[in-house]
Amino acid sequence: MSSIFRGKFATAIKIAILAITTAILSLLAQSAFASGESAIGAFLVFAIVALNFTYFTKFSIPLKFFVPGILFFIAFVIAPIVFTVIMSVFNYQTGNYISKPASIEQVLILGVESDANQTTFDLVAGKDSNGDYAVLVSDIANQRFFISTQDKITDVDASKLIINEYGVATTAPGFTAISDNELAANDAYSKIRYKYQDGYYVKIEGQGVGAVFRQKIAYDAKTDTMKNIITGETYINNGKGNFALEGSPETVLTPGWRAPIWFENYTKLVTDTRFRTPLIKVFIWTVVFSALTVLSTFSFGLLLALALNRKMRGRRIYRSILILPYAMPSIMSILIWGGMFDSEFGAINNILHTHIAWFSSATFARAAVLLVNLWLGFPYFYLICSGSLQAIPSELLEAAAIDGANPRQIFRRITLPLLLQILSPLLIASFAYNFNNFNLIYLLTGGGPRNSLDGEVAGATDILISYTYQIAFGRGMNDFGLASAISVIIFLLVASISFYGLKKSKVMETFG
């Protein structure tokens, strides 16, 4: 057996696997650098070096086992956390996605205006007698024809032109036209601003078509300001990722850029009532939801485990049935429950002969969420409680019984404390998991109901993570910076609660 891991064959396999891995990572690195994602590219290069160094040397044998895990841990745990923390101090929202240079470029592209008549011309692209890029323009309405380059405009008499059946000049003396195929192949023609009159220029807007524009916005790199050349208005860098009109900070040029605003996203959560009020409400419900879920699933699971801990006919069948909800994909279960709770056609209302609008009332929606989560969660606690009950020494229970304790006392004084000691880490983990139980909320209620008419931003069943999702990816406008700040707070909360719980349960001491 050990020969598989040694010898020439094993070395060949190792080299082949590493070569393929290196090739794949090289491709990804190349693609990352080409896309401008230099941090990802650098990490991939680091991964290539780390993998080859680890497996082609005897530097560290344990590292050969750990290095893939470490690389995945960095890529999928450390990097997202670091990225989220960094983004939380940025103005990163709809309108502020791109870099500052890209933003300036876009503002200048958009900072043009058509003339009053929104004039367009038929034109032919080509080169003039000097070999400069030029367009032969046909102003059919005014029967004017001219050849225009970046620097000059030359009128041409109609009699010297060949004009097609649509009145468009196709050739002129000293002008060499290019075909549409050539124009498609050479984008340089479309980048030039061909001279026109009164400060306006002609730009190619498609094969055979040009439009008249003039530049309205100009950038001054020295003062880092944008200026409206026509009106004289100045837009200053507001330090938050936009050029804002002097004296009217609400008026900004778009697109803006992703700019650091340090702790503004965090202070907004505390000082801005639009965010603070729903956040407090959502936080309270998140804690209640997580706590009730843990309590209900644990209690029900324990109850069933106790019931099936005794010998009874058909125990195996009951045990198998009880595990079924756990075996079924939770997404399917949630969607089925969603249908069952439907107020018009749902099975629950039909069976109960009621007309409860489960997802329109805050109380019923919360009850539905807890009920569905109980269904999804109890098999897990049933399983671990069953296992833990087996682990409690029967001598303890027998000794208590001999001492005269009744079953209730035995359970309360011996079984439950021992179970809690064993299961504390899992209860804490379950609380932390449900703190971020996005799937359930998103698929069952979408966070609702929320009374938008009264300005409610957060829904009655929104937990912190679904509320964050709504801010980050909600309809229309996204605010990734603010969502990142809330994510960081959730991370700190869950980490603190878990750490405190684990410390209280002394599990860490056991591990230590």
């Binding site: 290196t22 479309s190 807007e205 094969q207 008026t251 778009t254 609008a357």
Partner: protein, 419 residues
């Protein structure tokens, strides 16, 4: 060891180099990259497979996404190297994408503009710039089951009376429900027929900023037509769209609002129905629907890819042309936006009927007013919230209507700056 290390690295480097040679460039030269969703994409692919020379010197590549949401996510994450030159989608993405610098302005000639109605350009514009060309009309229409209702209703009250008279006898689940477009976009007709609109339009296609809907009139109509004597829902107009299509097809709902992308499904199922706008409270008036358009949009990446001229040419020669829209809609089945294509003999009856319903009573879908939540909530969130508050929670229709009117008025005032 050193020798082995060097050999291994040499081999790995060789394989890597060989593999990297196989990299296909993201976009071939003179190739126009078009992104679309799971229905539009395959249909565009079919059309371009039949005729691909819409722009001389350029080829067209269509990338289809698994869903509309997947397309949106891809656009949100697109960069200069990965993004498309053109994408086809509804107009409601325009404000966010334009604000983020992902769209590039488009200039049309006077002749090209004349082939569309001015209001269609509202939907595709932001901050004074036009970012795409109208491709097809997105609207709803009210269909009625001709086995239940023999003649077209003239007023909203007629429909309510029919429902109340036959509710028990025919086991009707509702009178009028929304089977297409949801309780905000699709349900506008339901609001509008009773007197509520998110913004008021002048007859010349401009917005009337001096006027907003009267909550008192609207609430009175809601009370009279949708509530019983105890102030509870009479069941005519459900607060949700769940099960509407199934119930309509099962003959349990006589009237339904369907999207124009649905009509073919209904027709092919052999269902007998007529298409019309939702009738208003008074005879001869109709509830307005969003006569919005889907567009083909030019991205700022086209410039980066060096195909901006070709991409602009594809917009005008195919997406905005009579020939292009007829060819495309023969596959897609929506009413074309371009006037020439609308008149074409090749456009099917259902498409024309839907188009006719839209032309009878529609308003442009102005994202700047509808998407903003400056008034406290966007149109999309506040509209369904009204029905829940009144029809489910039993709240006072006038009190809630006043809240709704205040939100919509504030949203219009806030969105005005973006037009």
């Amino acid at each position: 060891m050193k020798n082995r290390l060097l050999k291994g690295l040499a081999l790995a480097a060789t394989v890597s180099f060989a593999a990297s040679l196989t990299i296909v460039p993201a976009q071939a030269a003179n190739e126009i990259l078009v992104w679309a969703d799971e229905t539009r994409g395959p249909n565009l692919t079919k059309v371009f497979a039949k005729k691909g020379d819409w722009v001389p010197g350029s080829t067209i590549k269509v990338v289809s996404f698994s869903s509309y949401d997947a397309l949106k996510a891809a656009l949100d994450n697109a960069s200069g190297t990965t993004g498309p030159d053109i994408f086809v989608a509804g107009n409601d993405w325009v404000p966010a994408l334009a604000k983020s610098g992902k769209l590039a302005p488009v200039v049309l000639t006077a002749a090209q503009k004349a082939q569309f109605t001015p209001s269609q350009f509202f939907d595709l514009s932001y901050g004074g710039n036009l970012y795409g060309v109208p491709v097809d009309v997105n609207n709803v229409g009210m269909v009625f089951n001709t086995k239940l209702v023999k003649t077209a209703p003239k007023t909203y009250g007629e429909m309510v009376n029919y429902y109340l008279a036959n509710k028990t006898k025919k086991g009707l689940k509702a009178g009028l429900c929304v089977a297409g477009g949801g309780m905000s976009w699709g349900a506008l007709s339901g609001f509008s027929a009773l007197g509520a609109e998110p913004y008021m339009m002048n007859s010349d296609g401009t917005v009337n900023y001096n006027k907003s809907f009267d909550p008192t009139v609207f609430a009175k109509n809601v009370s009279t037509l949708l509530l019983d004597k105890k102030g509870k829902s009479n069941g005519f107009w459900p607060a949700t769209d769940t099960g509407c299509q199934d119930n309509f097809l099962a003959g349990k709902v006589p009237f339904a609002i369907i999207g124009n992308w649905h009509w073919r499904t209904f027709a092919e199922a052999g269902f007998e129905m007529n298409i019309m706008p939702v009738p208003g409270v008074k005879a001869g008036t109709y509830g307005k629907m969003f006569g919005s358009v889907s567009g083909a949009f030019l991205t700022s990446y086209a410039e980066t890819h060096g195909v901006s001229v070709s991409a602009k040419s594809l917009l005008t020669s195919f997406f905005a042309s009579t020939k292009g829209q007829v060819a495309y809609q023969a596959e897609e089945g929506r009413p074309p936006a371009e006037k020439g294509a609308q008149k074409s003999q090749l456009v099917l009856g259902g498409q024309k009927a839907m188009g006719a319903a839209a032309s009878l009573s529609s308003i442009p879908q102005i994202g700047a007013f509808l998407n903003t939540n400056k008034g406290g909530a966007s149109y999309w969130d506040s509209a369904p919230a009204y029905w829940t508050a009144v029809l489910v929670d039993g709240k006072n229709p006038l009190v809630e209507a006043k809240k709704l009117a205040a939100i919509w008025k504030a949203n219009v005032a806030a969105g005005k700056a973006d037009l």
